[in-house]
């Protein structure tokens, strides 16, 4: 391998022989790397945001219901939290949980009426579990378990032509299948990026809901947050074993659309990386073949002087590796700066309706994670190494007598 230091030096110097061409191809390759990483960051941000929003928007990681509740979400399909359930919820990987009353209802203002879902919540437990407390835009969150107010969405308030401090009537069905109604003062208005959320849910304390429906200590659902997404399945397994009479579901089965988006993101990333690399590889091959054509006399001379064909192959291949490495460094650096410059994300509120249909917020964050960086860089390195082999092989196969005399 005595020729190795020589061919490394030659590969490096040859790279800068035609500075303009090298600069153009480096720009194109770095652009490709940038497109890969920034798109991955955008898609990752979108997927994680959908996931976060889904979990934050009342779904949580795990939900526990009465076995019939999801088919018929009425108050009869509720359950009491007994010692067995309380003991099961002591699981070390459960960091927070909250039990809710969740029933269909109708809300009526002086002007209009709307059908929605009524949630009776435990204000203290719910504060750290879902979006509600952090989304109050007007008024205040519940002061305690005895708070008698109601919190409604901003869009719903607009639709009902009502506002903070006004009274609304909530109508639902009690356990005797009779209509039960009661007036509540609006003490808080929440604002979320999704209008569907604002028009679909109203919140009161569990105590108010129990009084309205005429029940005591009943829960429609328990929402659970685990330490991380990785803990969801093991916790479900334990809960199913501990609570065989209840329906225990993960966020994936409750919100299959979110699961689909997250899975689609992974597949899309591979396809996008391959498309970008395919475009890049034409640049690499074209540049190297051009180089070989221009330098064929030189390769002939090398062979005449006694350089073995495998070292000629290595010289061209190392040259392409230098090019790839520089492009990767520039591409990664510029991607990092791009993501850094976007701050909290990019504002796509101009497409608010479409974003809402896709369950997305109006601000999409760019999130770079090491796995995505590794994937993009690995694809470029591995496929780049393979792509560089063909021109290198061509160079090593030149017949010296023909190569030297080539004009």
């Amino acid at each position: 391998m005595t020729s190795l230091p020589l061919i490394i030096a030659l590969a490096w110097r040859n790279l800068w022989r035609n500075k303009r061409r090298t600069a153009v191809i480096l720009f194109a390759m770095a652009l490709g790397v940038w497109a890969m990483i920034v798109t991955a960051a955008f898609m990752r941000g979108m997927a994680l945001q959908v996931l976060d929003d889904t979990i934050d928007n009342l779904t949580a990681h795990i939900q526990i219901h009465h076995n019939n509740y999801l088919d018929d979400p009425v108050i009869e399909n509720s359950f009491k939290i007994n010692k067995t359930i309380e003991s099961a919820l002591q699981h070390t990987d459960i960091i927070n949980w909250s039990n809710r009353i969740r029933v269909p209802a109708v809300i009526s203002s002086e002007r209009d009426t709307s059908g929605l879902v009524l949630l009776g919540i435990d204000p203290e437990r719910e504060a750290d579990l879902s979006f509600l407390k952090s989304s109050i835009s007007d008024g205040k969150y519940f002061s305690g378990a005895d708070d008698k107010g109601i919190i409604i969405g901003k869009k719903l308030a607009d639709n009902l032509e009502t506002r903070l401090g006004k009274r609304v009537v909530v109508i639902t069905q009690n356990t005797r299948n009779e209509i039960s109604d009661r007036g509540f003062r609006i003490t808080g208005i929440y604002d979320t990026p999704t209008e569907g959320m604002e028009t679909g849910f109203v919140f009161m304390t569990r105590r108010s809901a129990e009084t309205l429906i005429g029940v005591s200590d009943l829960s429609s659902e328990i929402a659970i947050i685990t330490r991380s997404l990785e803990h969801v399945d093991p916790v479900i397994k334990t809960l199913k074993s501990d609570l065989p009479d209840l329906d225990i579901q993960s966020w994936q089965t409750i919100q299959p659309f979110t699961q689909l988006i997250v899975e689609m993101y992974g597949d899309f990333q591979y396809i996008w990386h391959l498309i970008v690399f395919l475009a890049m590889s034409f640049g690499i091959i074209n540049t190297l073949l051009m180089t070989i054509f221009e330098r064929s006399r030189e390769f002939g001379l090398f062979q005449a002087l006694g350089l073995k064909p495998r070292f000629i192959l290595m010289q061209v291949w190392i040259e392409s590796m230098f090019m790839l490495t520089i492009a990767l460094i520039i591409g990664n650096l510029v991607s990092w700066l791009t993501v850094l410059s976007t701050g909290d994300g990019i504002d796509v509120s101009a497409f608010a309706k479409g974003m809402e249909m896709a369950q997305l917020s109006n601000i999409i964050p760019f999130i770079i994670i090491s796995e995505d960086l590794f994937l993009a860089n690995s694809i470029v390195i591995v496929l780049g190494m393979l792509t560089g082999l063909y021109p290198a092989w061509r160079a090593s196969r030149l017949v010296p007598a023909n190569a030297i005399t080539r004009v």
């Binding site: 030189e298 002939g300 090398f302 005449a304 006694g306 010296p400 030297i404």
Partner: protein, 234 residues
């Protein structure tokens, strides 16, 4: 491998070379028998297409004959694979071409050291030998210049220096003076002759240049791929 002990540097036995040009077969060389003794200074001459360069390429292992055998230092080169051929060229043969002799991204000294580096000679020895040979060919002080910064004559001197620096058995030169003016060409011939005399290096030069033909110790005239005449001029 077929090898034999001999003082012959080159031994060509009935070598022929046929090229295919479309549907036409062109006989570049026909049944050439040609021997070169160690230390000879031979000039191959003849009109264009007579087979001078083809013969030189065959001897240097840059191209393979269609039939016949070639021995370099008693070793039959037809039996060598590409890697062994490269080794043979590296250790036994120096080349000087008409043009494009030097690697443009390397300095004059690096161009000379390149062959020694491939041979595995250490850096200190490479440096000492390259500077010494540069002085010998009259290029002292120009060691750090790259080929575009040297004149045509200087570039050919570097090529000669590179060809002989590791003391090969044989130097093959293909039209070495073709792109040089007469004064520079004469100096290059002087240089090659002095290298031949001082180091007993064998030279085979293919040329149209009458100056080289006059000063060669042996003149081999080729015509239509055959040796037409051999003139001993010593």
């Amino acid at each position: 491998m077929n090898t034999k002990q001999t003082d012959l540097v080159v031994e060509c036995q009935k070598i022929s070379k046929t090229y295919q040009q479309g549907i036409i077969e062109v006989n570049a060389l026909t049944d050439i028998d040609f021997d070169v003794q160690r230390g000879e200074f031979i000039c191959l001459s003849g009109p264009s297409g007579s087979g001078k360069s083809t013969l030189l390429n065959m001897i240097g292992g840059l191209d393979a004959p269609s039939t016949g055998e070639i021995f370099i230092d008693g070793e039959e080169i037809d039996e060598l694979d590409k890697s062994e051929l490269a080794d043979m060229r590296l250790h036994k043969i120096g080349f000087i071409f008409q043009a494009y002799n030097l690697i443009p991204v390397l300095t004059a000294q690096e161009n000379i050291e390149m062959v020694m580096q491939m041979q595995g000679i250490n850096k200190a020895d490479r440096n000492r030998k390259s500077l010494s040979i540069l002085k010998e060919v009259g290029l002292e002080g120009l060691e750090n210049r790259k080929p575009p910064e040297l004149s045509g004559g200087q570039q050919q001197r570097v090529a000669v220096a590179r060809a002989i620096v590791s003391r090969p058995s044989l130097v093959l030169a293909d039209e070495p003076t073709a792109n040089l003016d007469s004064v520079t060409a004469n100096k290059l011939i002087d240089l090659m002759l002095s290298m031949n005399e001082q180091h007993k290096t064998t030279f085979i030069i293919s040329t149209h240049d009458p100056m080289i033909m006059q000063r060669a110790k042996k003149l081999v005239k080729l015509h239509d791929g055959k040796i037409a005449e051999v003139i001993n001029q010593e």
